[in-house]
Each structure stands twice: as C-alpha cells, then as structure tokens.
Symmetry: C2
Subunit: 458 residues, 2 copies
C-alpha cells in the first residue's frame, strides 16, 4: 500500500504496473467476464440502445442556428461546439493555401477508463455506448466520456456514471493522465483528457458497463467498428516498461520533432463561415464545391438510453473511406513503426506524429503523388509483407456521421529500405509509449494504431 | 564513436553525458580558460561593445509605425515582432479580467550553446553580447541567439557566427533540443528553441566567444546581471541522471499538471492597441493609467559591434523590480523545489510551472494578499533558513528595457510545512530535469532558477 497521507516518504513509479498490464493483456479469454458473457452483454446492450437518426435541414434544429454576423453554426447556450471557417497557409505540400469549415470546441472533455484488479488480474471497465454518428450503433467505449457541459448539467441530462471516481481520484491511483489532440483536419485545437485510474472493489459494473481484461479489449479492436475512438486513444496512453534501445535515441527523436516544430510554417486564421471560398451552403449542408472532403449537415436524434431522450445537432460527414496505415519493421529484432511528422491545421502545435500513411484517396485523386503513391506502397508491401492488423473503425460518433477509416499495420521485410523518407522516423513501441506520457506528440490516428499494435505484439 | 551512418545498430541514450556535465560543473577554476583569462576577456569585450541607447518619441522610429486600423505597433516588413492589445479573462485570483499590450513574435528563435571537450572536460562556448535593453551593457550569452530574421537576412546584417553548426548538426551530437516559452505576461505565445550541441576541435572561439566550463558559467550566475536570460534558459535544459524518487511520483506530477491544464480557464482575445481599456498612448509611451506594470517606449540604438551599426526599435520597460523566488526543502535528504502552477495570458497552454513566488510587489500593492503575503513568507524563511542563491538578473535585453528581477533560492528547514498550498507541488531537481526535456512545462523564470539551483547543488 503506497504512502498517501504525509509527504515524508520518498516514492518511485509503480514498477509492477507494466507487468500487471501485460498479465491482463494475456488474459484474452477473460477472468471476471467470459467471452461468452461479454458477447451476450454486448448483444443485449446493442438491442437496448437504439438511436433513430434522421438527417434534417438546418432550420429544423432546435437551439442551433447560424450567427447573423459570421454565418457560424452555433448553439444558443454558446457552449458545446460551433462550426466556423478557417483560412490555412502551409509551407509545403501540393496545396499551400485553402479555406475550410472546422469545429471549435473549447471545453476539454474527459475520456477515462477505470481499471480494477479482480482475481489478481487488472480489468478495464468498458461501456457499451451508441452515438448518433456511429455507422453501426453501439460500440465499446471508455468508462467515462464526457465534456464539462455533460457533467456540469448544461445538457440538462442525467449524471455521468462513475465521473466522481475520476474527479476525486487520489493521485497514487492514477495510471495515466494526459491531454491529447483530436482530428486536426476537423477540429480546431480540440483536445481531450485521457485518463486511466485504478479503483477498488467498491466499484462495480452495472447495466451498460462490463469488466474486461486488456486482452479481451484488444481482441475486440480487430472487429470492424467495435471499439470507439475514445476508447482507442485512452488505451494508447497506458504506461509501459522503459524506453530501451532503437535505431534513434530518444534525444535524437526529440531533436527531430523540435526541428519540425521550429522550422515548418502553418498559419491559420479563424474566419466566419459565410462566404468561405470553395464552400457552399444549402438548406441541408455546407459542402465543398467539388464535393470533396466532407460536408456539414444536421440530424434529429431519438434515443432511449441517453442522458436526454432526443435532440438535434450538426454532424460532419466525411466523404470516402479514410486510410491510416502503419508500416513496421524489425531492426535487430526490435519492432519499429515508421511515423510521419504531419501538419494539420487544427493542431495546437505545428506538427504531430502520424501514421506512415493517412488520408482519403478520393480527396487526393486530383493531386500528384502523395497519398496515391503511398497507397501503392501499402498494396505492394502488403503483398510482400505480413498484415498484422486490418480493420475498419469509426471516428467520434458524437461529431462525425458514418466516418469510416481502414486501420492497417503491415510488417515489412528486410527488403524494405531502412532509409527514412524526409519527414519520417522509425520509432520503437517503448519510445512511443514514452512520448505518449506527454501531450500532443502523436495524433489521434497514430494513437489508434498504437493501441492496435500493442494488441498484435502482446 | 556512435553509429551514424546506417540504421541497423540499436542505440541508447548516452549514459556518460550526465557524468561529463558533472565533471565540467566541478571545474570552477576553468581548464581551457583560467578565471583570470576569462575576467580579462570579459572586461575587454565590455569595453569594446558599446551601445548608445536613447529614448525617442515613437514618430522618430525608422521602419516602425502604428497601423492605422488597429493602432498596433508594427515593423514595415511585417516581421520581427509587433505590439498588440490583449483582452484576458481568468477564472481565479483577485483580478479576473483585464486588457494589456503584449508582444507578438511568431518566429521561433534559436538559442544555442555549443559544447566541446577540451582536455577531457566539456566546455561551453559562451558569447559576450550587449543588448539595447541591458541595464549594464555586455552579458554572458549563448553561442547563438538568433531569430529567423537574423539568420535569413531580413536584418540585412552580418551572418550569425556558428549558426551553421546548429542548423546542420548531426543528430547524435545533439545534447538537448526543446521549445520553451518566454514571459507569458509580456509575450503572446512566444517560444524559442533551446539547443545544446556537441562540437569537435574544428570549432574555435574567437573575439566575442570564450570556452568556459559549466562550473565557471555557474559561478558567473551569482554575479548581478552577468548571465543573460537566453543563456539561463538553455542551461536549464541540460540533461541529467534518471528521475529517482520524490514525495510525488512522476505520474502524480503529470496528473497534477494535467488537472490544472484541463480545469482552469483562461480566455484571451487579441485586439487592436487603439483604445485599449486602462492604457494610454502619448508621444513617447503606451502606459497604464495608474502607472503600473510596464510601458512601451521607443529607443534609438547606436552600436559598434552588432550585425547593423544602428537602429530604432520599441522596447518594453517593466516598472519596479521583479521577484522570482524558489523555496527548497529536503525530504529524506532529497532536495525538492516548491513549484507553482501559474496562469499567464501569453502561454501556449493554460498553466506553466513557476517559482514559488513570482511578481513585482509594486504592481500588487493595491490588491489583497497574494504577492505581499508570499513576500513576507520569503522574508521570514530567509531569516530562518539558508539563502542558497540571491542575485539580480535581467530579462531579454532585445525586448525589455532595464528589466530587473531578484532571483532567490531559499532552503527552508523542517519547521516549514510539508503540506503544499493549493496549486503548489514539491518537485525534485531530477524530476524537473526530466520535465525540461519537453516543451512548456516550466516557465522562463523557473528555468532561470533551475539553472541557478544546479549551480548551488553541484
């Protein structure tokens, strides 16, 4: 039992935690909950939680409207989120300047997973939760997934279950707590708090909640649209053992990251949504003049198991299926992932580390090279190499309507060049775990893939 | 010799570096340069570099003017920096809302120190450099101190010496490379790149440059206005040994930091300088209506040893002498510094960790509690305790005119309460060194004090 009362006793990091997590990862058949029980629970929850989601014209939304001066899409309370315009200039790439709608959400949300030791094995308290934008209904979600508006009552909804365990956690029970970004192409400087805490036997799972081993959750990652984005990002922030060795030292990686932050230029200016160049607003959507990227629409939601029983809201619908692929390769037996320093206009900082390939092929069909070349690479190395992971997953269903991305991890062989292209670095999993203790190093797609990579490497 | 060509060999952090730095810190009498030689060199440079700085009315500045629409003070090129208005709202403290002028400087500057092993001991290449705002002329400065404008020629000046060693450094020669903030009360989201690289015998010191051991530089820190702010912040980012133990674990500290970032609210809005509430513009200054805080003025500079021989520019002149004090205390023999989570409007993030006490007494004389109470604490514990460090130092002389702050480190005894006030944490020096690998954890005043604390603890 760690010292928690006075400050007179010196302490170190919990050295047992990585081994306890590894043990939980090995328990793929479950301990507290058998796989059969889990499947039954998940099917029940899926049947019980029904969202009826109907696209509607903007003027049928309640409490949402276009601000007369800016044309921005805002909530009457001034809270939740708004959709504004953004003008972007970057110093590299085939397109150096553009305008786009983007979501502004000032509030920092809380994404939290409670873990508890049951029969000697750590279990994660996972939630079955549907979101209006999910393509398939219920997904496995963190214990808590809440904005301040959620749990301070602006929503006028029910209390968020388990939230008090996170808000009142005793510091020595914190396993991870870090702010991380979300999609820099769709959100302007949004970030969420990713938190894992350990709780005791006084915390029990009810109704929409289920204790699962890390191994069980990792198995679920392989099922299309099963584990939601919020759960994936929290999983990625779990701690691990020491940094160890790699083809680059940690100092060299930090030097490479700092070089990118300091020398690349992105200028963003928030502007009104009215008259945004290249974008058109109709009664039902704000869309790109060539039909690319995404459109903003509105939906009516009727729910039977949510904090409130029905509401209307804007959602962003991405066009096409995204691809997020990580190439991994062994150097002297140690697995390295090829991360890319990527600019997105909504990042708090200039760059974040992204998967080897990230994009939506359709959006780039009119552009030279880039994503097409990389996708050809992926196809080629997929044929030669070993597909460690391949599943379609959705992004945050509270903001995005039927967003689909194919997440792939491909292990390439010795014939794949060691040499990194400009802007890429081979990075070990322990190095990535070390970076993920701190904010804004890895983007949300890369974090999803890291959660999946851990599921592949045991 | 580390592997630098291929990627096939796995490597770890240079385990010898902390010991090599410790050896250099012990060499207080110098190796390549005796203390006598150093003093002579420094006196020579001080005599040779003369800045004649004359306050002038704004309309006598060349290439600087007030923008007609906003009233902002801008350079004709659109580069360097500008002075704009900022509206601030915070959720805590005696003043919740105010407006102020603030400097915007988008460009990330480079502050770099080159180190070289001479006779088996690491030496730092320090520069004797004067800045127009320095209260005393020449100060010990980093090897390189340059904005992009400096070294890309917007300045139309001479080349920055040694800059190419930093721009073309081979990754395994990087000792530290991290972006850090500057004064959040005076700069809006400014940050500089703090870099330390190791160079070989091909790099020699000439004229304004001198090889000094870390111990020699640390001795100079004790002399009023001797070591400039840029040198202090780079010194603070030097690596150290492992994190070890403390009254809080590293995870607990990160949890505390994240809690502050996620739950405290600061809203800043950049506005025009014209008509800024509470501020008045005359021919010679933009100042607060009650004469508090600082004023913006203009100077004419004539230099004999600078990239250009003369120029005019705005400078900010703080009113009163600032105080930055760190209370330190031993727990089980391990030194801990009492850091404070502090909001300043110019931070990139919400809070940064600051000294125990930071402020300018005059500015807060009209307010209850706060700085006065803390200053009384400092006086009291200074009487009881042990003053480890006490010197007056200046902030960046390229932007601030005769800014003076008294930096103090006071070791308190057992009678000082272990219990931390709300918003404070006891943190060990190795934990702080670990945080300083990453951006924006410690503010610039705390970083100065950490450079000084290392000088005290050997």
């Amino acid at each position: 039992m760690p010292n928690t009362t006075g400050l007179g006793v010196l302490r170190q990091e919990d050295a047992h935690l990585p081994a306890r997590l590894a043990l939980s990862a090995q328990a793929v058949d479950g301990v507290a909950t058998s796989t059969e029980q889990f499947e039954k629970w998940f099917a029940d929850r899926s049947a019980a939680q029904v969202h009826e989601v109907t696209p509607i014209p903007f003027d049928r939304m309640r409490n949402w409207s276009f601000a007369p001066d800016t044309g921005n899409l805002v909530h009457d309370s001034g809270r939740f989120f708004s959709v504004v315009g953004l003008r972007v200039e970057v110093d590299q790439g085939p397109v150096r300047e553009w305008s786009q709608p983007i979501i502004v959400q000032q509030e920092i949300g809380l994404l939290g997973i409670a873990v508890r030791e049951i029969d000697g094995v750590l279990h994660l308290l996972m939630q079955a939760k549907t979101e209006p934008g999910n393509p398939n209904g219920v997904q496995l979600s963190p214990t808590v997934q809440a904005t301040k508006s959620n749990y301070t009552g602006v929503h006028r909804g029910r209390t968020v279950p388990y939230i008090e365990h996170f808000r009142n956690v005793r510091p020595h029970r914190v396993v991870a707590d870090v702010l991380q970004s979300e999609h820099g192409a769709w959100f302007y400087r949004k970030r969420n708090r990713n938190m894992v805490i350990e709780v005791g036997p006084e915390v029990e799972a009810d109704g929409d909640f289920c204790w699962m081993t890390l191994g069980q959750v990792q198995e679920q990652l392989r099922i299309d649209h099963r584990v939601n984005m919020d759960a994936r990002t929290v999983l990625s922030c779990l701690p691990g053992p020491g940094v160890g060795s790699g083809v680059h030292t940690s100092t060299e990686l930090l030097h490479w990251i700092t070089t990118n932050q300091a020398t690349r230029d992105v200028t963003t200016t928030v502007v009104g949504l009215s008259g945004l160049p290249g974008w058109e607003r109709s009664e039902r959507s704000i869309s790109h003049e060539r039909g690319l990227f995404f459109h903003v629409g509105a939906v009516d939601v009727r729910a039977n198991s949510r904090e409130v029983s029905g509401w209307t809201q804007p959602l962003i619908e991405p066009h096409g299926i995204g691809v997020a692929a990580l190439l991994v390769k062994r150097f002297d037996g140690v697995l390295h992932a090829l991360l890319r320093a990527r600019i997105e206009p909504g990042y708090v900082d200039v760059i974040e580390l992204a998967p080897t390939v990230q994009g939506t092929p359709e959006n780039h069909a009119h552009l030279p090279g880039l994503v097409q070349d990389q996708l050809r690479d992926i196809e080629r190395y997929r044929d030669e190499g070993r597909v460690l992971f391949d599943a379609e997953m959705s992004e945050e269903g509270g903001r995005f309507y039927h967003s689909r991305s194919r997440y792939m991890i491909i292990e390439v062989g010795e014939n794949y060049p060691d040499q990194e292209p400009e802007g890429f670095r081979w990075t070990t999993l322990p190095q990535i775990t070390w970076l993920l203790q701190h904010q804004h190093y890895l983007n949300v797609q890369a974090r999803s893939l890291i959660a999946c990579l851990r599921a592949c490497t045991g």
